[in-house]
Structures are given as structure tokens and as C-alpha cells.
């Protein structure tokens, strides 16, 4: 299985994503610069965190028009796996690949801490190795992670089981509606989340709960391609 980690000017979690793929599932992974015009070689695309284009104008506003994003849209239509983390989530919403928007945290702070998340939907290519309702420990680090969408969109997200992660209990760190931490598109092959699973892949990092997102993707890909599953 081949992974691409997109790199925009200002991305800063690209190396973490790359290492997470190497360390958790040992699959082939490449850094792909934002000017690239062909992603056809890849099965999964990771849109990493950071401050693409300095977050100028709005988070993800300029990155959504980078050349590579046309290819990401094609890949999304082709059913390839796309995971946007933090700034990557913001870019995917700006690009219209996921509904809603991420606005400023409601608590005046850039929040950088471990968070308990509830796995709301484990029936996705990104979460199949978790149990439904499982509580997992994944860090967040953002100033604009307050998920917003209108009532009609929220009703649609719920009706289609598109909410993938919620901040547990009453720990909502940023004001997101319905404690939403991560969502998927209708087809299920595009997920965006503010927490950073790539920063939770070893106990030395405080948690290894993020590891199973990567094993989930590999598992889903193998099932889709009839390849042997060997752990």
C-alpha cells in the first residue's frame, strides 16, 4: 500500500505523519509537494497539520487552491483514503471535501493537550480497529478547531453516521458543536479530525491510541484488494 503525505509551505506535522506510517504499518510512504499534479500512484493521502501558507486569510483558504488539491479531489472521487489532520482538516473543509468549517476556539486559547475522544463510528476505513464507543487518548494542538456547521448539515451528518470522533463527556476544548472532533464524508473515504493520531503512536509519546487509525487504513485497503491480512 502506498501513502502520500502532502507538504505545503508551512506544513509542520508532515514528518510526524510520515514516521507514523513507517513505524505503525511499515508501508511505502512519500512526501508529496503541493505543486504535484499526479497522485495516481497512491492509495492513501494524508493532509498533515501545520500552518499552510501561514494560515493567511483563513486556515486552509489558500492551500485549497494548491495544484495538488485538484488531484486530492480526483482521489476522493476515486474512493481513495484521505485523512486530514488539524490544518489538514481545515484544508479539506475549505476545499469542500468535507462539510462545515473550523473557526476560532471559543476559550481564548491555543489548546495543546491530551484529549479523551469517543469513537462514535468504528465502521470506517479509518477506525475499524477500535470498538464502537471506545474512549481513546489523542493529543490536540490548535487555535482554530471549533467545528461549526448549520443545523441542516448537522442533521445530515447525524443521519449518515458521519460523526467519527467526539470529545469525551464535557471536555469540549474549543466549542465545537456537539463536541465534534472528527467527521467523514458521505462516501466514507475522506475523514478530517482536529486531534493528532500521528502524535500518539507509542507509549513514549504518552499514548499509542493513534496507532490503530493507521492499522485500520491498511486493514481496509487489504480487505478492498483481497490481500492477505497478516496482522
Amino acid at each position: 500500500m502506498k501513502f502520500a503525505v502532502l507538504v505545503f509551505p508551512g506544513s509542520n506535522c508532515d514528518i510526524d505523519c510520515y514516521k507514523a506510517v513507517e513505524d505503525t504499518i511499515g508501508q511505502s510512504v512519500d512526501y508529496v509537494w503541493h505543486t504535484t499534479t499526479d497522485l495516481s500512484a497512491y492509495d492513501a493521502i494524508l493532509v498533515p497539520g501545520g500552518f499552510s501558507y501561514g494560515d493567511y486569510l483563513r486556515c486552509g483558504a489558500i492551500a485549497q487552491f494548491a495544484n495538488v488539491m485538484n488531484e486530492v479531489k480526483k482521489a476522493a472521487e476515486a474512493g481513495k483514503y484521505i485523512l486530514g489532520i488539524c490544518n489538514g482538516f481545515q484544508i479539506l473543509t475549505e476545499a469542500g471535501l468535507l462539510p462545515g468549517a473550523l473557526i476560532r476556539n471559543n476559550g481564548l486559547k491555543f489548546v495543546c493537550q491530551q484529549e479523551q475522544l469517543e469513537v462514535v463510528n468504528n465502521n470506517t476505513a479509518f477506525t475499524n480497529q477500535y470498538s464502537q464507543g471506545e474512549m481513546i487518548n489523542i493529543p490536540i494542538a490548535h487555535g482554530e478547531g471549533n467545528y461549526y456547521c448549520d443545523d441542516a448539515t448537522l442533521a445530515e451528518l447525524k443521519a449518515n453516521n458521519q460523526i467519527v470522533f467526539r470529545y469525551a463527556g464535557d471536555t469540549n476544548p474549543n466549542g465545537s458543536i456537539e463536541n465534534i472532533a472528527g467527521i467523514r464524508n458521505k462516501a466514507g473515504n475522506v475523514v478530517g479530525m482536529m486531534p493528532h493520531p500521528e502524535r500518539a503512536v507509542d507509549q513514549l509519546m504518552g499514548s499509542e491510541d493513534g496507532k490503530r487509525m493507521f492499522t485500520s487504513i491498511l486493514n481496509a485497503w487489504r480487505e478492498q484488494h483481497g490481500a492477505a491480512v497478516n496482522g
Binding site: L57, R58, N105, N106, L108, C149
Partner: protein, 80 residues
Amino acid sequence: MKATVYVTIKQNVLDPQGTAVQGALHTLGFSEVEKVRIGKYLEVELDTTDRAEAETRIKAMCEKLFANTVVEDFRFELEG
């Protein structure tokens, strides 16, 4: 031709920045301040004299890039 573009947060969307500034104004003694909303102001110079064309183009720029219409509204003025 010059376009002046205003991008504002939709009324039904929270503006944490505006709320913080309102709090600061209260601290400074401006107790009459009931609400603060913060938006963006853009000045855009266009190489055209065709007003209708400029209007169409600026509207497209607003919808595509200047504003995220999920959470923001926009309006603009043209002069020259």
C-alpha cells in the same frame, strides 16, 4: 477600478475574537459596548474600467477565496 471588500462573520456564528475584545473594552471602562464583531477589510485594485465585469469578477473572488460562505458574509463597493 478599486474594490473595497468587507468580509464579516455570519450573525448566527459565534465570534470569540469579538467577544474577547468586548471584554477588554469593558475593562477599559467602555461599559456601553454591547457587542463587537470582527471582520476583514480588503482593498483590491483591478485593471479594468468595465464596472459590470468588475462586479462579476469581485463577486467570484469573494465566493471562491475572500470569504468562507459557510461562516462568513461579504459585501463590496466599487469606485473609479
